[in-house]
Amino acid sequence: MDSMTLIAIVSIITTGVTIAVGSIAPALGEGRAVSTALSSLAQQPDAATTITRTLFVGLAMIESIAIYCLVISMILIFANPFWNHVISQAAGK
């Protein structure tokens, strides 16, 4: 198995595993955050604007972790420097 095939195989598998594993924990965290926000909204409806705004800010911070994993996956598929290097070497030959 030459290096070109190996790089392709590892990149593809890593992409799938990264985004699959990386979205488990943020999804669980967001579910927990929203459920706590809903119960506190039910307890104190007057603070609705503050709770909603804090909820959105917290959700964005939790979502960032999943976005980091997504960015890595996208880079591995579409802008992979190792693949580009190997391809340019193969094209140069």
């Binding site: 959105f56 960032s64 976005i67 960015v71």
Partner: protein, 223 residues
Amino acid sequence: MRISPDELVFWRWGYVVLNSTIVTTWALMLVMTVGAKLITRKLKTEGDISRRQGFLEIVVTTIRMQIKEVGLQHPEKHLGFIGTLFLFIAVSNLCAILPWYEPPTGSLSTTSALAIAVFVAVLLFGVEEQGLGGYLRSYLKPTFIMLPFNVISELSRTFALAIRLFGNIMSGTLIVGILLTIAPLFFPIFMNLLGLLTGMVQAYIFSILATVYIAAATRTRET
């Protein structure tokens, strides 16, 4: 498949590159500045206000109220910076509905520039409020062992701001591009709608986080 509007180059001369990001950013700035100038030519304080002036008043008052609710006592000082952040990111994401348009916030260069601007603004506002010594001393709180951790958290906040905005917008445009080759009839429209929604949410999040960081840096601590 293009991952960023930086790769679409219109004109190049040596190191000077005119790519789609720069052209779109300047076009947006032109449209927003000229539009605002045209609407605010004849401002009226009483009588019948034109609808466009009313719209701008709603936008400015809402941003000012949000800044005040986060905890900044004098929102007028920060209204220019935070309002500009919100309006630029919101308009650039909202215009994704136009054909052949690639949002400049989908490029890591633009989002890094905005995040670095927030970093410098936090520094400047903090120094203005607490003096240079007071602001630098705030890095030593609660104990001076926390100095490297405070510095690292400052840098990682900037990095996270840039990557969050870039990841959201870039993935939105990329998903629409991929779906156009797989299921081009209805799904790209729904994903474009979702992209508009996340664009507005991300604009709000960026400006609110900038406000929170500035509020944390300018809070006068009781010693």
